[in-house]
Structures are given as C-alpha cells and as structure tokens.
Symmetry: C2
Subunit: 402 residues, 2 copies
C-alpha cells in the first residue's frame, strides 16, 4: 500500500512552485481592441509630443498674460479681438500686444499668446474684450508634450494594459501592440468512470466536472485552457497525455494524485521526472502532487471536484498569473462573524467555504466530492494549521469568489 | 453663452441613473466553455441525483457498520472479503452479515453495505479483513443526491456563473446553458479634430482616445462595446448617431457635453428627449449629461480623456453592470498615506489619481486632458465634497484599477 511520505505546508508548496515557474517569453501582436488586460512585451516610446503644440484647455480668449497683469474689477483691461482659432487646424491668427483671439478647448494656441481666459470671466463688446483679473503665463494652456513627451516611454514592458494604458496607446495612434502570449495550460481529466459533458453516460459513470472548473480558473487568470479528452487510469495513457501536452506552459492533471490503487500519478511522475512534493497540509486538497518534467512544471490535482477547485484557487491561480506575468490577484475580502462553531484539523490549513447571510459567514462545506460545497459558497475562509476550533461569533475574513 | 444651471451631486446622479436602467431581458444559449462570468436566465433543475446512488468516499472496504460495532485494537472484528466493486460499473457483489467488499473512491456501494473503512485502518490476510475500530452507518459514504438532489434547483436565474457554478452545470451534464445577453453599449466619439487610431492625421488633429477607454471599461464589466465612427460637432450628425444606436441598451457619447460653443449635447438631447441632469459635482468630470430618449438612457461624457475615463469608473461601470445583471464591482482597496498635501475643491467630489510608492499614495493627476493622469496611476482616492485640504501623511483608501 502506498502512503504519503511527508506532507509539505501550503507556504512551502507555493514557494517550491514559484521557483519552478518561468513566465511566458513569446510575444504576439494584437489589435488595440484586444489589448485590454494583456501584458506589454515592449517599451512604448512616444513618436511625437502629446499634445503636439500648446493647446487651449478652455473655451475663452488667448492673450499675452503680461497684457492683463494689472486687470481688476475696478480697472479692467481691454484687448482687441483679432480673430479665432478653428479646432483641428493650425492657427493663422497671431496675437500681438493689446490683442486677443478666440479659442476653444483643445485648439492650438495662436502664436504670441501664452494664456487663456475663460469666457465666463470676460465681456465682449464689438471687437473689444474686457478682462477683470490677471492670469499667469501658461494658465489654461496644455503645454506641448505635457501629457506624453516625444521620445519618452509612457508605457513599459511588463505593464498590464488597463483602460487608461489602452488610452495612452490610442493617444499615440497605435492600432496594434506587442504583448506577451497567454500561457497555455493543459488540463487533463482522468478516471475510468468520468465521461465528457455532452456524451451519454451509464448509471455508474459521472460527468467530468474538473476540466470545466479548472478551465474557468485558468481563463479568469489570463491563461488559455487546453482541455484534453478524459484519460483512463492507466500508466501508458497518462504518460501519453503528459507527452502530448509538452508544448504547453503547464500541465494540470485532475485525479489519480492520491495513494490508492488507482492513483498512478506518483509512479508515473517519479519515473518520468522529478516529484517536488506529494501531499500538502491543506484540507480539502491534501493529495496534491507537483513534479518537474524536462524543466516544466506539472500539477496533479485530487479528483474530488471541491478538492480540485479549492486547490485551483490556492495553487493554479497564482501559477497561471505568474506564467502570464500578471500581478498577484487579491480576492476581495469582507469581514463577517461565524454563524456556528467549526472544528478544524490541527496541522492542516483548512479552506472552508462559506455563504454570507445577514453579515454572518455560514459554512456550506459538505464533502470534497460535492461540487455544491463550492458552488453554494460566496467565498472561503482560511483556518490556520494551529487552530483547532473557531467559535460562533468569531470574526473571520471571507475571500470572495466574485 | 450657455451655463450649467445647477450641478447635481454624485450620489444623486447615481440614484437618478439607477432609476432609469432596466437590466437586459434577452437570453441566448452558450456552450459550457463560454459560460464563465455570464448570468443565468433560467433556473437549473437537476434531472437526476448527484451522486446517482450511494458512493464510497474512500479506498477501503464496504461493510455493514453493525458488523464491526464493537471492534477494538484488543478485540478486532474480522470479515470475509467477498469481492470488489469496479469503478464506473454497477456492483454485482453483495455484502451480507460477516462480509465485506473492496471499494475504491467514487464507486457505487455494494448492496448490503452501509459504511466504508479506509484501507489504512485494516489488515488483509487471504480473504479475511481485520477491523480495529467501529464506524457509524454512512461513514465515508457519499449518499445518493447529497451533492445535488433530483428535482432540486442548485442554480437560479440571476446567478453569476463562477467556476464552481460552471462545475455544477457540468455535474448535471449540461453542455449548453441559457444566459442573459450581454448589454450592447454604443460608444460615439465626437469632435471635428478627433481621428480614428490607424488613420493618418494632420498636426492639429488628435487620435480618438475615449472610444478605446470607454470600450475597455464596458468590456471589463460584462458589456459589448459597439463603437461608432467619430462624429463631428454638428446637430444633425449627433442626432443621426443617436438614432442609429437606438437598438443598443445604452448610448455613451464622448465630447460636447459642456457649455461651450461646440457643446451641442444639451441642445440635441433636450430637444430629442428628457435631460435628467447636466453638470455633476465631481472633479474631473463636471460636464456630464444624462438623458432619457424613448425610455432608454443616454450618457454624455466630457471629451477630455481623463474626465471621460474617470467618469466611466464612477458612472458607466455601475450602469453597465446593472444592465448586465452583474453585482456591484468592489474595486480592491489598499490603505496608504498621502505623500504630500493636496488641495481639493469644496463642493465637488474629487476623484484624485494616485500612484502607490513605498506605501505612500502619490498624486499623479496632471490635468483632465492628459490621459497619463490616469495611466500613471495605480488607482484613485475620493475626496468628499466637504473636504478642502488633505495633509501629507493623512491615511487614504486607494481604489485600485487592477
């Protein structure tokens, strides 16, 4: 009979994994409308100034600030209106001493003017504009290059493209951008009794749940799930599936990771590569195995749907994000009070799913084979290894699934 | 000269908008691999029990619990091994008094047995298995229907499909599922000087930023952006763009929402429909207009890229999510100390973008025309209407963009 030799702590497992994950290196070109959430694989250098010349930031009059330096309500200054600047066109009008020109928001400043006064603070009579207070040189002017300077690097390799960063690319006229490829994550469901959704099944067979939940977690975290057919628990078939997915950045195998008769992962992986750990001090999810084959990492997940999915949150999510070069994901947390006493397992970190009702965290875990242990939950609490019991009313931090 | 009549508070604006948003009603059928993040448009009723019959939750021996009720280390119980159950098959073996059968995790329980004892707690000699402690009836058995009961409703109309809920659909063999359509959000960039990214521009023209940033916010929040060509500031063209997008669930127009000469939105909207508000007590983003036309809401955003995008976070994000029937999005927050004094604007809520450096929140706002005011930021802080100045070192809550 096989057994787990010694269990590794969750933190140690995460550290071990982290040492063996190499972020994707390949890049691809995508259109700007596909760029959101992707990671830049190049520095973006501005080919021109934004704005290209000084622009008015207001609707008003472009003036020489010096001309109205002593303007006040009791002694207003008066300037002659000599023309206006059309939006989208290089100004032909020029402002000399004693003159002003009409400008609108975003238009280039006419030569000679260095400030803009809002319409609201002026009066116009025939061709004379009256000003009641001074402006400083540069007031209400967006200076050439003040948003992005020509030759500067407003975006850097490794930046995640948020809406605002997509906006910077647009301001520079970039219709396409080079980004890192999304990591390809192979997902291999295993088990003689498991059948693909959509096929017809016998009474004692069950539908494949794990490849769908794992694919969803991969997708949510910037990876591309590459889901294979269901593989029976046979050494050759498992090895075949591993080899077939060697081009992927990570392979995740669901099922067969424990120590029973049908659990072949340890044998297969220890022969083909190096097992980094087998058995983690976590509940559910203890029978988790991690190996390196030809320099690439492979994760063997327990087949029980809730063990598999809770481990996906604990291990697969950070792995996928690191491969994808995305920052750590912080699940949203809320504080709540436990609705009832829970008894934990000393020496195991417990991932306990809860539903939030009226500010109370209500445990909904049934058993690790039940997917509703996860699906009925709003999130989970983590009970540390050294905690045995938590009492009704204890404050807990719930990590939300959405 | 036009002016804002009276400004509305942000909270009032949000309430007003909320009253006029009707979540999408149309539904569509998607494959399970496209279901993540979508919203169920139907209750899911289980067509069969999961599991279909009692199953073993362990590798071990199926027994009648009564047979080993008095087993102990000093007085172990011995049962005759009468066979084993193959995974994925309906058991042919039957357990009678004094007998046990070998089972593996997930296989159906043989008739007659009501509990499973883990291998680890037994010894096998020839065809006799020795048991050292009792089990209760039902121990290590996943009861028929304990995950999902036939005829029950494990998922409900309106549920957002998380990875775990996708797993429930899989457990029921659903290859397809009915979900609400994503709302279509028309985005209309306006301005004579604005040109599409990818086209060639004259020196005094600028690239369209807003339709890209707005589309990104719509996409991040479950909507489908329907981006139109850039429309010049002309009444007929604006009206034409509004009519052309009447089939969309929401129309957002970027630019022309203020009170200058080129700001035609108020005129166009007040003639065609009912203006709900014009001018919001927020900075940047004051010149925002909201109207109802034929019962559908329309949002006019300021053209300055940072005003437009910050308002997208404040207004367009909750609007899109409500249309899409998604729950409110809580941006992740972190606490930080202000790196320097900031002077706010009394009577306006200020959306101040900040970068986080060494635990300090460093304001990065330049001006509302500069997209880098947003792109250089990690997030933003909200300074309430009644706060004039915040001091260096004051603790602030930063809402993160990622």
């Amino acid at each position: 009979m096989r057994t787990f030799r010694s269990l590794i702590s969750v933190d140690e497992a995460l550290r071990t994994i982290d040492e063996h994950i190499r972020p994707v290196d390949g890049a691809e070109t995508v259109g700007l409308s596909e760029a959101l959430g992707r990671v830049l694989s190049e520095d973006i250098v501005a080919g021109f100034d934004v704005p290209r010349r000084d622009r008015s930031a207001m609707d008003g009059y472009a003036v020489k600030a010096g001309d109205i330096a002593r303007a006040s309500t009791s002694k207003p200054a008066r300037l002659r209106l000599v023309g206006s600047v059309a939006i989208g066109q290089v100004p032909t009008v020029r402002v000399s001493a004693g003159e002003c020109a009409s400008v609108s928001t975003g238009c280039f400043m006419p030569k000679g003017a260095d400030a803009v006064v809002m319409h609201e603070n002026t009066d116009l009579n025939d061709s004379t504009v009256t000003f009641y207070k001074p402006v400083y040189s540069g007031e209400n002017v967006s200076a050439k290059g003040s948003d992005v300077k020509q030759g500067s690097t407003p975006l850097h390799k490794g930046d995640v493209l948020t809406p605002a960063k997509v906006g910077v690319l647009a301001s520079l006229g970039k219709a396409e951008v080079n980004v890192f490829e999304k990591p390809q994550i192979a997902i291999v469901p295993t088990g003689a009794e498991i059948k693909k959704v959509g096929s017809s099944i016998e009474e004692a067979e069950i539908y494949d749940i794990n490849s769908h939940t794992l694919a969803a977690v991969v997708e949510e975290n910037g990876g591309i799930p590459v889901v294979s057919d269901v593989i029976p628990d046979e050494r050759d078939r498992l090895l075949g599936a591993i080899e077939a997915n060697r081009k992927c950045d990570l392979t995740v195998i669901a099922g067969g990771s424990s120590v029973g008769e049908r659990d072949l992962m340890y044998d297969v992986l220890s022969k083909r590569g190096e097992v980094l750990f087998h058995g983690v001090q976590i509940r559910p999810g203890k029978p988790t195995i991690c190996a390196v084959i030809d320099g690439k990492i492979l994760l063997g997940m327990p087949g029980h749907p809730t063990s598999c999915l809770s481990n996906a949150y604990i291990f697969l999510m950070p792995m996928t994000r690191k491969l994808a070069r995305l920052p750590e994901r912080r699940l949203t947390t809320v504080k709540a009070k436990l609705s009832r006493r829970v008894v934990s397992t000393l020496g195991r970190k417990v991932f306990m799913t809860v539903r939030i009702r009226d500010g109370e965290a209500e445990p909904v875990f049934k058993e690790s084979s039940a997917i509703t242990s996860m699906a009925d939950a709003d999130g989970y609490i983590v009970i540390p290894e050294n905690v045995d019991t938590m009492e009704k009313g204890d404050e807990v931090e719930v990590l939300l699934f959405y």
